[in-house]
């Protein structure tokens, strides 16, 4: 009450009060404009930082896929069209996911995605990084149950070379390949440098799994192999030999008292020096199985060199 009375009695004080009110209003409006400007800048800055963060998360997620692929995680992807979640990391305002997919028998796709949200208004940025990784296989899937390097195989009338009609998974493994019982094809040049562990068939009792070499030419004890059995010479089958996968020899394959049973395919280079032609004797049985052969060939398939990896991200 005393202030009003004072104002009423002192008009100059009223003018001062009016000036103060006007100035306060002007300053208030200026502050509001500044605040809005700062807000706009802040939103832009938040969006940019979220985008950068999402991109960084996607890159790191993809690097995780590269590491996983390099350490052999791709071998779990047995069929084109299969994919595997390598990792997913979720935090309060960000997440990243790493996926490895198989798009073909010799193609992998590494994918990293990152999501980052920022700001109170909930800006969400998403980034996606993909890279195509070719696989390198030293030996391609054989087009015949038994393949000679220079000469066609001699097949005894009592031997069986079976190429069943493809169905189910076998159809996928063949991928449209036309398969013949016998064939002639150049011996795969990339086979020789392959470093495969040596196995002495005389000391092996259990089934051998993996890709191995044995010293030839005579096999005198029964042997069972799931994978790849390789020889740098001829192979004289003096005891029963069971192979589920691929039997590959630089020389020829000939019976010598034992029986050969293969589920997969046989490749003979006909270059062993023995001079013989590859032959299937009485009771030998070769059944073409593209899936078994593919599983075996996967053992010697590796990731292509990083120079051949192709970035597929578009941003």
């Amino acid at each position: 009450m005393s202030v009003i009375t004072s104002c009423a009695t002192h008009p100059r004080r009223g003018i001062a009060l009016l000036l103060a009110t006007v100035m306060t209003t002007v300053v208030g409006i200026a502050l509001l404009v500044m605040w809005r400007g700062v807000g706009d800048n802040r939103r832009t800055s938040v969006a940019e930082s979220a985008t950068r963060r999402a991109a960084a998360l996607a890159e790191s997620a993809q690097v995780a896929v590269f590491f996983a692929a390099d350490s052999g995680a791709w071998r779990a992807l047995s069929v084109p069209g299969s994919s595997q979640r390598i990792a997913i990391v979720t935090a309060r305002r960000e997440s990243r996911a790493s996926d490895l997919a198989r798009t073909g028998w010799l193609t992998l796709l590494a994918r990293g995605t990152g999501t980052a949200s920022a700001g109170r208004v909930g800006i969400v940025a998403r980034a996606d990084r993909r890279t195509l990784i070719p696989l390198t296989a030293p030996i391609t899937l054989p087009h015949a149950a038994v393949t000679g390097g220079a000469l066609s195989w001699l097949v005894d009338s009592a031997a069986v070379v079976d190429v069943p009609m493809p169905s189910g998974r076998e159809r996928i493994c063949r991928a449209g390949l036309t398969v013949a019982p016998t064939g002639v094809a150049a011996f795969p040049p990339a086979f020789q440098p392959l470093l495969l562990p040596m196995v002495d068939p005389d000391t092996v009792r259990d089934t051998v799994r993996g890709a191995v070499r044995i010293v030839g030419p005579l096999l005198s004890r029964p042997l069972q192999v799931i994978g790849i059995l390789a020889l740098d010479s001829d192979l004289l089958i003096g005891a029963d030999l069971h192979v589920s996968g691929v039997l590959i020899t630089r020389g020829s394959v000939r019976p010598s008292g034992g029986h050969l049973a293969v589920t997969g395919a046989v490749l003979a280079g006909d270059a062993g020096g023995g001079g013989g032609q590859s032959r299937l004797g009485v009771g030998d049985h070769v059944r073409y199985d593209a899936c078994a052969a593919r599983r075996a060939l996967e053992l010697v398939t590796t990731l292509g060199p990083s120079a051949t990896w192709t970035r597929l991200s578009f941003y």
């Binding site: 002192h10 073909g104 028998w105 010799l106 994918r111 993909r130 493809p166 192709t310 597929l312 991200s313």
Partner: protein, 283 residues
């Protein structure tokens, strides 16, 4: 009583003195503020000019960075024109029969495929990865039809849905369902003069309806004219591994593109320019 009134009030002289002092302070403050604002404006304007040039270069670099010169993606890269095939997306082959390619719908949930940012159009190029050779095969799209059935074929099933049937100019016999498929768009960057008389960096993308490059759209302006004393507003050169400038017939050897943007001379700010080196292809 008189003494009390004199102490409580403010004389006109006191008020005048206060107002004069306040005016002086405000005047000095306004002068300083004006200078600061002027410097700020100049800095900000220069920064905006540089930033807008940089933004235009970033946009261009995003379009250019994914091209593969060895596959012929770089058509023209000289003076004030850049013509290229830009990948716009990646998806997978759903099915292929002779010269008709079915494209998968794609989905962000599939690790091997992404929904394309736009449909495949006539005049686009499609590039499919061939496992057997480890190379890309490129074809031109000559017709597009809708599709909506399962992917894969009797031999090779593929877990996706068909979205488009694309007739290409030649068959791709060694491609199987699931092969990675890149879709590329023909586009041209050039320095063009608009109706306002300003020169601008313009982008024209392929127009499938007219079967030619579309009307150029300005990306950044103003830029210096092609005959400006300091150099053209937009200039591009392709160089090889040792930095030698490549001519039209040598563009498959390109390893980098050198791009310069330059504004016209401004009475206050002069010429602003920015440049970028964009590495292309495998490194």
């Amino acid at each position: 009583m008189h003494a009390h009134r004199a102490r409580a009030g403010v004389t006109l002289i006191e008020l005048m003195v206060a107002l004069v002092l306040l005016s002086m302070v405000l005047a000095i403050g306004a002068l300083i503020a004006q200078r600061v604002l002027h410097v700020e404006y100049r800095t900000s304007a220069l920064s905006v000019r540089r930033q807008s040039l940089s933004d235009a270069l970033v946009t261009l670099a995003r379009h250019v960075a994914e091209i593969d010169p060895r596959a012929g993606d770089l058509r023209v890269a000289s003076d004030t024109a850049l013509e290229l095939l830009r990948p716009v997306g990646v998806t997978s082959v759903c099915r292929i029969v002779a010269d008709t390619l079915t494209v998968g719908s794609g989905s962000d949930t599939l690790a091997w495929s992404t929904r394309l940012p736009r449909s495949v159009a006539v005049g686009d190029q499609v590039r499919a990865w061939t496992d057997a050779t480890g190379r890309w095969q490129t074809r031109t799209v000559i017709d597009v039809l809708p599709a909506s059935d399962a992917c894969g074929d009797s031999v090779f099933p593929w877990p996706d849905r068909a979205v488009q049937r694309v007739v290409i100019d030649d068959s791709m016999p060694t491609i199987h369902p699931g092969a990675v498929l890149k879709v590329l768009q023909h586009e041209r960057w050039s320095l063009l003069r608009g109706g306002s008389g300003e020169w601008s960096l313009a982008l024209s993308a392929w127009d499938p309806a007219r079967a030619q490059l579309g009307i150029p759209q300005p990306v950044h302006s103003p830029l210096a004219s092609p005959i400006a004393p300091g150099g053209a507003g937009f200039s591009v050169r392709a160089v090889d591994t040792v930095g030698a400038v490549l001519t039209a017939g040598q563009l498959t050897r390109a390893r980098s593109l050198l791009v310069v943007l330059r504004t016209p001379a401004h009475v206050r700010f002069g010429v602003t320019s920015d440049s970028v080196r964009i590495n292309v292809g495998h490194h």
